[in-house]
């Protein structure tokens, strides 16, 4: 753990990398959720029309 902290403080670029990856996971998860909800609404609306 100690060595990891010292490694990160000397190579700040990896902190940037970790933050970028976290942001990307967030954006992807949000989009994924939206897509799923949209599909649910789509199937519901099609069911109503029948």
């Amino acid at each position: 753990m100690e060595s990891l902290v010292s490694f990160l403080s000397s190579n700040a670029i990896y902190i940037v990398l970790i933050i970028v990856l976290i942001v990307w996971v967030g954006v992807f998860g949000y989009l994924f959720m939206l897509d799923k909800r949209l599909k649910n609404i789509e199937s519901e609306m099609k069911g109503e029309n029948k």
């Binding site: 670029i13 940037v16 990307w24 992807f28 989009l31």
Partner: protein, 231 residues
């Protein structure tokens, strides 16, 4: 489903590769990038900045294509598609402007210096802004769609002036400009094959991401309209 996982992996890989892979003078391993004189570490922005500005233009193109479609068929679904494309284009345009300005601070010394490319991205930002101002000014749906379509087509025919002609007749600092001597057309020969591969992967990944966002956006807009009409 598969392409979503693929998209996730592509962009995650591009982020890891673009940020963490070292730039060395003589690349020996597959994960090392070549040193481009005049750009050095700053060259890494190409994996994130170029896709966003590419998408800005693609989104504008799509918005124009659906505007033409709308004028032909008068189908409001086409208008929703054009509108979503313009909204996404605005987001990517802001991203491209901000990343470019931050990069310029470290490469050129100031955030903004009215380089031809900066002027053109600024004009694109203004066009998107004007398009939304026009949309918010008109109440009636069909009229709004028609006027916005006409305006986006007229604005689109001026874009070639910004993107292709301006940077070539005016002197600029941007890599790839007419009088750029040392970092030349970066894409053509200064990047080695692994850098090019990651660059193209990034372009493909961002384009798929844009397409997905566009689909989610216009579908939600259409359903919202349908629900509003039902109740």
């Amino acid at each position: 489903m598969i392409w979503k996982i693929l998209l996730f992996l592509i962009i995650a890989f591009v982020s890891v590769a673009g940020i963490a892979f070292p730039i060395v003078e003589k690349p020996e391993f597959w994960y090392q990038f070549p040193l481009i004189p005049g750009l050095e570490e700053n060259a890494k922005i190409i994996f994130f900045h170029v896709p966003t500005s590419w998408l800005t233009v693609i989104a504008f193109l799509m918005s124009t294509i659906y505007s033409i479609k709308y004028l032909r068929r008068k189908d409001l679904i086409d208008d929703a598609k054009a509108h979503t494309a313009a909204q996404l284009g605005m987001i990517f345009c802001i991203l491209a402007t901000v990343t470019g300005a931050v990069w310029a601070k470290f490469a050129w010394g100031s955030f903004w210096s009215w380089d031809p490319r900066q002027t053109s991205i600024f004009a694109l930002l203004l066009i998107y802004g004007a398009l939304f101002a026009l949309r918010s000014a008109v109440e009636q749906e069909e009229k709004r769609a028609t006027l916005a379509s006409v305006y986006s087509i007229i604005a689109f025919v001026t874009v070639p002036f910004f993107i292709f002609i301006m940077p070539r007749i005016m002197k600029g600092l941007h890599p790839g400009s007419a009088d750029d001597t040392h970092s030349g057309p970066v894409v053509d020969f200064k990047m080695n094959s692994n850098m090019l591969l990651i660059f193209y992967l990034s372009l493909i990944g961002f384009t798929i991401l844009y397409y997905w966002m566009w689909q989610v956006g216009y579908k939600s807009m259409i359903y919202k309209d349908k629900l509003n009409k039902q109740f």
